[in-house]
Subunit: 499 residues, 2 copies
Amino acid sequence: MTTIEDLKTTYRDLTMLMSALALMGWDQRTYMPDEGANHRAEAFGFIHSDFFKRATSDEVGNMISDLKSPETYGSLSFVEKSMVDKADREYRRAKAIPPELMHRYSVLSTKCEKIWETARKRDDYEMFKPHFKELLSIVKEMTRHYGYEDNPYDALVDNYEPGMTAAKIKAIIYPLRDHLVPLVEDLSRRSKDSGEISMNGHYPANLQKKLFLNVLEVMGFDFSRGRIDETAHPFTTSIGPGDIRISTKYLEHDFTIGLFGTMHECGHGMYEMGYDDEHVYTPVYGPASLGIHESQSLMFENHIGRSLPFLTYFYPKIQEIFPRRLSDISLHDFYRAVNTVRPSLIRIDADEVTYNLHIIIRFELEDAMINDRLEVDDLPAAWNEKYKQYLGIEPPSDADGVLQDVHWSSGMIGYFPTYMLGTLYSAQFYAKAMEDLPNLEEKMTDGDIQPLVDWLREKIHKPGAIYKPEELIERVTGSKPDSKYFIDYITRKFSDLYR
Amino acid sequence: MTTIEDLKTTYRDLTMLMSALALMGWDQRTYMPDEGANHRAEAFGFIHSDFFKRATSDEVGNMISDLKSPETYGSLSFVEKSMVDKADREYRRAKAIPPELMHRYSVLSTKCEKIWETARKRDDYEMFKPHFKELLSIVKEMTRHYGYEDNPYDALVDNYEPGMTAAKIKAIIYPLRDHLVPLVEDLSRRSKDSGEISMNGHYPANLQKKLFLNVLEVMGFDFSRGRIDETAHPFTTSIGPGDIRISTKYLEHDFTIGLFGTMHECGHGMYEMGYDDEHVYTPVYGPASLGIHESQSLMFENHIGRSLPFLTYFYPKIQEIFPRRLSDISLHDFYRAVNTVRPSLIRIDADEVTYNLHIIIRFELEDAMINDRLEVDDLPAAWNEKYKQYLGIEPPSDADGVLQDVHWSSGMIGYFPTYMLGTLYSAQFYAKAMEDLPNLEEKMTDGDIQPLVDWLREKIHKPGAIYKPEELIERVTGSKPDSKYFIDYITRKFSDLYR
């Protein structure tokens, strides 16, 4: 007879393989010598296919079926049911795609990503187009295998944000879009009127390192259970319980990019460090979704890091590290500089207000492409049109337009909305935390963010993937995901800023 | 029908798992956060047992039997035969020990090593004794399973040095010992008479790092195919082809320890980088033995690094990095300082002349214990007696005596001789290289060691494990392993030094 213990044993084994893969991935992006790349790809591929074989074995399938049988399932605790449900979802998703199709997808997405790199450098959409066309048709084929009710897009976004659909996203974002477009216009004019503050200068990497370690300490990052390294494209990865790794970069002309990037990854890392030990190596020891994950990174980067209360405490420490360059820049000027609202071309450089417009554009284009309302041939024109419409600017090149993100080239359609959901969730969580912790911002002014960290840990980190994202949000905040908290937050923050 | 391609496929797969284990091991000793240790042990254990299961499967056993059948074996090339023979040896060794016994060995050796750490700190042999007694009796039991002709010791040393036996070791070392004991007495007196030169000072880690990178570059270490990191106990590991990692430490009171340690690991790394690409992922893509491995590290550390020709080129560069401390120390004084002959208690701090006496002592004690001529109870007394007899000094404590090395505590009996064999092999190789490359030392004076590196690569690195160590040495030098080359080398070097 199958018991929940059997499932736990299986997941423990799978976690060990996943841990080896995570370490290989981390190493590849931090310390691996160049010539190690080919071998690494082979070794990663070998362990990954072993993982996949085990995860999709009939044995696992039968185990899950047994646990899903009404009698057995009915006897499980709530958390055990979550474990079975999550395992079931993962198994069905992994089995859904015929191996031959999955193979074509892997080969083509790897190739397409490489071509994208060159195409972007050369600003050559034509070079990218035929490969992306082919990849997109494979992705469409995959949606039929995954299955969906209304919109093939649902089959894709569900992978990153369980339970999310295109319809729900639209319900969330349309009011947001209509609110943001005029707000951006207004704020960027006011931002311009109040004068630009440039942070450019020379900030030696070793001093930035000192600063970033300092901010991580203040934010409660536990160095006995994690570390930070340098990399070209910062990321966070979990090698296993007690071993969470974040990364950053040191741009010597502007430390603020690395500083807020570090806070961002810190938030991801805090989430990974916070799962309940009781559920280690089970299916629920992990994030509820990518949107929830992003909400935690944005909590640390924006709600804490870019806030006046925190900077009131922390900016003097920054000044101590770069006294010459920063002595003439007041707290208020720094606060404004790192919260400048300005329509811009590049998503990853966008401010809190304009950021979601970048995402909405991508979502609308993805939804149109997946539903055959937009051809790959017409994508650049559609892209440029939307930038003009929503942000009032038009990309001078595809390199700074439709070719700027890696996601599509690697077949990740349906991923972008999680970034936006993260901004909405974090504002909704933060509003609730403010209610629960009346002295929150006062304490933050003294550099004490522990009450907020404790609150996040208890309410969001510990449950891990026990709840689906929507359930978790409702449980924590009392309401379903709603963009109004985000709108309230930016309205309050930025009208204060330009008062 | 089984073909050599089947064996290659199997070894390719095993190499991928081994690569994951190597990366985990490297990471554990360099960057892993403390609290990641428990999970790492689990993940390592999981992949290791998967590796072991595959390596000892009946499928592999049958494949090797088939390939060993006279008809098939007869049709193989020389290198293919070497592949089969090596696979056969590894398979038989892995299968030799009953799983229950192997499990007891693993558990006890892990425990014993932990206890040794504390026992050494507390200088408490009594604490260590009962555990080591038990471990030794397991090791003796294992020798019966491995099988041997004359001496159970042969079953152990063969694991590290294929084809080596206690009898061969004795034939090599007795003349060596009889030569070394009076030589050490003579040289250490002369060394003392010529005055001590202390290198103590303050050498900042970042400058040492610069120096070590410089020496690695001069020695031809390829940073596109390898890297160096900091660790407590320096080591070299191969993650895979094109990914060889060495490590070092920066002791701020004395850079010479790290400098020569870096050269030592560089030699190990050069060997690992030098195997013939043609045999990648096969059983012969690896070291011929630990003794041969050590011969390469000693080649770079001693025959190059501590030589007058190389230091003539390199010492001015060291002086440039530490000008204040080193301006008054001449090349000759530095050369003497890093070649001081002095009987000392600690093996890892010993000079080239006394070093082998430390090893001979360990070998004699191991041989006596394994053959029941020495009880664990009497080991410290026997140890101290031998130090008095061979080196003229007596350890004031067991911590600096019998408890100094980790090897016995982790069940590694039969390992020590490989260190000594490495010194003999390297001298024998170097003598041959001098013959083949008449300008070798002249070029070294100009910092050009490429001719020697090319020679080592072609003669020793490329063949990898195609030959057994003894065969390789005879092939390269024309003679069987012999201690006379080492005796000639130290006699010439040190009589020049004290002339």
